[in-house]
């Protein structure tokens, strides 16, 4: 297998992160964890955006992934990290395959609005489900990984390990996909659907597939977040959460799979400082940043790194 530069970089960074784990201070590790979880979700947003679609309801899958993970812990009493993530991916994959049948027919703001409606349906259900803790949600705690019990420091490293490996694996696979013949159809669909059909490819099938992939990525991100934070609640599918994902995707740009991950890291770093020093202007900073990026950097932060690309 011939690897492109991005793939090699992903492998190198994964190894470096895992090797550095014992040296990382607690705050750095949790910042990385949260950023990587967000990054995984935004990888999915990136695929949709490349296809020309913006979902204002991806919190649906982020939340669903987390609740699937939580169910494995709370209801089935099998608090295994690997199983939790698997449950998150499976649940989102199934739901997205069904909803995708509908959503693949929609574009532009109608796609955004229908996605929003679906995410708010889940919100409406969760806030009134006392068995799932209503608006408070519930706590979860993973106690093993692949059946091997982990406590204290081992738990911390296991959580970090699974977060790093799964995020980087997602990025690796998505990068391969985007460079494949089918992956290239994403931008073709964004540019001109009519021509794609007249070249003999199915727009709807491709959009459906990309929708499912992006949902599964959000589900994995949500499940990982549940494991990391140890708490889940319906806010995960409330629309401002989905808006946050859109924000990071715009901020990052869709040029490369590192963009969403880097963007999420920038976002989380700014957030942790802003929360500390100026909690009441944090959203204002976000809003102004978003306007600046949209007006002056339509390709997102990634386009800043891309200037050296040959013409």
């Amino acid at each position: 297998m011939k690897l492109d530069r991005t793939s090699i970089a992903i492998v190198v960074i994964t190894v470096a992160l895992l090797a550095a784990a014992p040296a990382l201070p607690r705050w750095a590790m949790s910042l990385l964890n949260v950023s990587l979880c967000y990054g995984t979700v935004v990888l999915g947003m990136m695929l949709l955006m490349r296809t020309g679609l913006v979902s204002f309801g991806h919190g649906l899958y982020y939340c669903l992934g987390a609740y699937a993970a939580g169910t494995v812990d709370q209801m089935l009493k099998i608090p295994d990290m690997a199983l939790m993530v698997l449950a998150g991916a499976a649940a989102t994959g199934i739901v997205a395959a069904i909803l995708g049948l509908l959503l693949a027919r929609y574009r532009d703001i109608f796609f955004a609005m229908l996605s929003l409606a679906f995410s708010m349906i889940l919100y409406g259900l969760l806030v009134k489900s006392s068995a799932l803790g209503s608006t408070d949600g519930f706590n979860i705690s993973a106690k093993s990984i692949f059946g091997i019990a982990v406590v204290d420091n081992a738990h911390r490293y296991a959580t970090f390990g699974i977060t790093v490996v799964l995020t980087m694996l997602s990025a690796f696979l998505l990068n391969r996909y985007l460079r494949s013949h089918r992956g290239r159809l994403a931008e073709a669909i964004r540019d001109n659907e009519l021509r794609v059909e007249y070249m003999g490819a199915s727009v709807r099938t491709t959009i459906h597939l990309h929708y499912v992939i992006s949902a599964v990525l959000a589900g994995i991100g949500g499940a990982l977040m549940a494991i990391n934070i140890g708490h889940i609640d319906p806010e995960m599918t409330y629309w401002p959460q989905s808006g946050e994902f859109v924000f990071i995707a715009i901020l990052s740009g869709t040029g490369n799979v590192f963009a969403p991950i880097g963007g999420a890291l920038v976002f989380e770093t700014i957030r942790s400082f802003a929360y500390e020093y100026s909690p009441n202007t944090w959203q204002m900073v976000l809003g102004i940043t978003m306007l600046i990026v949209m007006i002056f950097l339509p390709g997102g932060l990634w386009s800043l790194l891309q200037r050296r690309k040959p013409a």
Partner: protein, 250 residues
């Protein structure tokens, strides 16, 4: 010669407007057929029906003996009929080479539904290079297609139809928007590519010079009907054609 495309009794109306009125055409393999007529005469409607964009109200279309009337554009492309557009339909944010690569990629990863004739026999990159070469687009390879001059966009639009290796190519006004001194260069390139690929061509055109120079046969449309069908010299000399088609076209 064998019939490759056969339209039987096609009718199409949009409300009170009849865009196709009992169209019967049998197109022979390897021929080049020109479709002429004033605006609204039914030429583009005909192309739209053959490529599955519009369904005829009644009648049927057969390609190599197979009924394709109810198929979708993408299925018709897969069988081997492709078209170009009056307004070029490009992937505007991509380079010229990338535009072609999308089509090559679709063919390269195509499944069993595709006709054998359009399978790829070389590496994808080579197929793109060959197409760039054939259409004289090599110099534009890395230029963004959305920023090209109109003549080049037209050329790329036709190359994008050819890149999926059709048996029949339908061209919708290939020289509209192309300057007078460029139009024969463009048509020569297209025709050379068509001959090499053994492709049957139907094209809609308003420029009678172009029609006369490149076609073997002309179909003259008027108010949804075909009012004349035959060799170019004969059709262009027809009384009705001179009155209804050429009189208005010039």
């Amino acid at each position: 010669m064998a019939t490759i495309l056969h339209a039987k009794g096609l009718n199409k109306s949009f409300g009170a407007v009849t865009a196709a009125n009992d169209i019967n055409v049998a197109v022979e393999q390897d021929s080049v057929v020109g479709l002429i007529g004033s605006n609204g005469a039914g030429k583009t409607t005909f192309i739209n029906m053959v490529t599955g964009y519009l369904k005829p109200t009644t009648g049927s279309i057969h390609f190599e003996g197979r009924d394709i009337t109810s198929l979708k554009p993408r299925q018709i492309t897969q069988l081997g009929i492709c078209r170009s557009f009056q307004i070029p339909q490009l992937y505007n944010t991509m380079t010229v080479a990338e535009n072609l690569m999308v089509g090559v990629g679709i063919v390269a990863s195509s499944g069993a539904r595709w006709a054998k004739s359009n399978r790829l026999d070389v590496a994808p990159e080579q197929a793109v290079e060959a197409m760039l070469e054939q259409f004289g687009l090599g110099d534009y390879r890395n230029r963004q297609s959305g920023l090209l001059p109109e003549g080049t966009r037209k050329l790329l639009d036709i190359a994008m139809a050819m890149v999926v290796r059709p048996r029949i190519l339908l061209l919708d006004e290939p020289t509209s928007g192309v300057s007078a001194d460029e139009k024969f260069v463009l048509m020569d390139r297209v025709m050379a590519a068509v001959r090499e690929g053994k492709v049957t061509v139907l094209f809609v055109e308003h420029d009678m010079e172009v029609v006369e120079r490149y076609t073997h046969r002309i179909l003259a449309f008027y108010e949804g009907r075909i009012i004349a069908d035959g060799e170019p010299a004969k059709v262009l000399d027809d009384v009705e054609v001179r009155k209804y088609v050429i009189g208005e076209a010039h």
